[in-house]
């Protein structure tokens, strides 16, 4: 994990819903931190004491759609298994042609740790319906188009441009 006292993710504003952005030195870290940002929309993450671990694998046509697919897989898992999550480890984010000469297929694999939703009932907040393609982007550094007054300072290394980010709006 990153050596930082600040959470390596943030929210950004949207009229009705919530923008989430994850940072990391690698795409794997950025995906994991973006997932944490999603979890914080839904519950108080430190209150979830992990009891189960579930493996995930998702695919996308590019790294952005892969991020949306990853988040949506977590949301689906939440409802199907009735779980709240404390965190996840993204083992790999990679791309390769799905067949010789075919376009690249992006793939993410990892594990997510969580506990039954009812065990953190008192610490639940808002249900996220889906991750969306709205404001979906990825890159290096800190995008400033949504800079907000009162935004929590990010780790210096993030601002220096050494970090990757992935972001999208989630529908609540």
């Amino acid at each position: 994990m990153m050596e930082s006292p600040q959470p390596p993710f943030e929210r950004f504003a949207h009229d009705a819903d919530v923008g989430i952005r994850g940072f990391g030195r690698t795409w794997e870290e950025a995906f994991a931190n973006g997932s944490l940002a999603l979890f914080w929309v839904m519950w108080e993450v430190p209150k979830v004491e992990p009891e189960v671990e579930v493996s995930l694998e998702t695919t996308g046509s590019d790294i952005e759609s892969l991020f949306v697919a990853w988040l949506n897989a977590l949301i689906t898992l939440r409802d199907e298994q009735g779980l709240a999550f404390a965190g996840c480890t993204v083992a790999s984010v990679s791309s390769s042609p799905s067949a010789p000469g075919a376009p690249l297929l992006w793939c993410a694999t990892g594990t997510v740790r969580g506990a039954a939703l009812h065990k953190v009932r008192a610490h639940l907040a808002t249900e996220v319906k889906a991750a969306t393609y709205s404001e979906l982007s990825s890159g290096i550094g800190v995008p400033d188009q949504h800079h907000q007054p009162g935004r929590r300072p990010l780790p210096a290394a993030v601002g220096e441009g050494g970090y990757k980010y992935v972001q999208c709006i989630v529908d609540v």
């Binding site: 949207h14 009229d15 009705a16 409802d79 907040a125 808002t126 319906k129 393609y133 609540v172």
Partner: protein, 454 residues
């Protein structure tokens, strides 16, 4: 742009709108097969592909666009009248009712409904909607005529709903959800159109109940699944789109037909969900306020794509009308209207916030010409959720509303802060703009008494 963009609003509302709204209205106007204009209602705000409050109709050579329906398929409002004046209910009984509703109505993230539907029965539910759950004993057959499409939209295809979507809903039938969804006991505060109010059985001072929710995880998953399918279809049909959220497929294509079949299944799920919640509502009133007689006024959705006939440039045309955060508000004589409502336009319910008024409207013939029979659906947010959470404290909001005589019951203090009345625009101005544009007429104003939130 293939057609013009048209925004219905006052100058003040337009000035308050995010520039994204104008961009999204423009983008929708470029879609294949769009007819007449890309429309936005007075409560329009930044959505997904379409603005929330966006309306667009497509001819048979056009596309079905899932951004025009949204992630919460068939989210809508059901209004139930209690046929009892608020003045006859003591504050003590209202407090007991609030507590009973809070324990009876499953609300919030992770809440579970009492009904588990087996896979085989789920197919029937997705095919038959509210009619199916009434046959299972949840509610009364007299409720059905007062639900859009008589409680069951035809053309649902449960086979086009994924296994993930079916599993996701396994314990969610009869649940409210969270976010801006609510069950609210309200008082009819003012009657604006006494003739229509009389037809709807609304009397000043009496209690009514609004239920605002949708198709739960099943609908959300259908949207997510078809976002992926439609993205592939969009490129295979050679569409160039200005926004990835505007993915779609020709109405007559395999992908388009599959989405329509799945979307209609989600509409039926939403209608069944609100029907089960109505049954729970009746149980709660039966325990606490048995003098009340709960009757469905109407149930109308605001996230749908529906096949309808409209007159465009003097010609009657079959159109697929997308309404994303816009309420269907057809004029008098609309299809499947209850016989008692023959003389009035389709009822429209506009939610405010838990501290402000809601409104009952009715569709007009003018609205049929101007907006394909559509109106707004809510106040629209003035503050983002993040900003609202920074500005308001949930427990303080609950106390302040209690001082005004409004009882809030919620599982999430944070959720209350995000949904604080101060986070919303003035719904009265939105409703006045809808009326000024001739899209609907105002029938009655409702004031909150009890609000159950997720």
């Amino acid at each position: 742009m293939r057609v013009p963009g048209r925004l219905f609003a006052t100058e003040a509302l337009v000035r308050a709108m995010d520039n994204k709204v104008f961009e999204q209205v423009r983008n929708v106007a470029t879609l294949p097969g769009i007819v007449s204009a890309s429309l936005a209602m007075p409560d329009a705000h930044w959505g997904y592909g379409f603005p929330i409050g966006g309306v667009a109709a497509f001819d048979e050579d056009g596309i079905v666009c899932m951004g025009g329906v949204g992630y919460d398929i068939s989210c809508g409002v059901r209004l139930v009248r209690a046929n009892i004046p608020r003045g006859e209910v003591s504050p003590k009984v209202l407090g007991r009712l609030a507590d009973d509703l809070f324990t009876t109505i499953p609300a919030g993230l992770g809440s579970e409904g009492a009904i588990k539907v087996t896979e085989g029965r789920l197919e029937e539910l997705l095919d038959q909607g509210a009619r199916f759950v009434v046959e299972q004993g949840y509610g009364r057959s007299e409720d059905l005529p007062f639900i859009e499409e008589l409680g069951s939209v035809p053309g649902a295809d449960p086979s086009k709903v994924s296994a993930h979507a079916k599993r996701r809903q396994r314990s969610q039938l009869g649940t409210l959800g969270s976010g801006n969804h609510y069950l609210e006991v309200q008082q009819v505060d003012a009657i604006h159109d006494s003739t229509t109010a009389r037809v709807l059985g609304l009397r000043a001072g009496e209690l009514v109940i609004s239920i605002h929710c949708g198709s739960r995880g099943l609908g959300h998953q259908i949207a997510t699944d078809y976002q992926h399918t439609m993205a592939a279809a969009t490129s295979s049909y050679g569409f160039t789109l200005p926004d990835r959220e505007l993915v779609g497929a020709p109405l007559k294509s395999a992908e388009g037909l599959a989405y329509l079949g799945a979307m209609r299944a989600a509409i039926n799920y939403a209608l069944a969900n609100r029907q089960v919640l109505t049954d729970l509502l009746r149980q709660s009133f039966e325990r606490v306020l048995p003098e009340a007689e709960l009757e469905v006024v109407y149930d109308v959705s605001h996230n749908t794509c529906k096949e309808e006939e409209h007159v465009v440039d003097g010609h009657r045309q079959r159109l697929w009308v997308h309404r994303k955060g816009a309420t269907r508000a057809l004029g008098p004589g609309w299809p499947h209207h209850p016989s008692a409502y023959e003389s009035i336009g389709q009822p429209v319910f506009i939610g405010g916030s838990m501290g402000t008024s809601s409104y009952v409207l009715a569709g007009t013939s003018e609205g049929m010409r101007r907006s394909f029979g559509s109106a707004c659906h809510g106040a629209g947010r003035a503050l983002s959720r993040t900003a609202a959470k920074q500005r308001f404290r949930g427990d303080q909001v609950v106390r302040e509303l209690a001082a005004q005589g409004i009882l809030v019951r919620s599982h999430s203090v944070r959720g209350v802060a995000e949904e604080a009345p101060g986070a919303y625009k003035d719904v009265g101005e939105v409703v006045a703009a809808v009326e000024a544009a001739g899209l609907s007429t105002t029938v009655a104003r409702l004031l909150p008494v009890i609000s159950v939130k997720g």
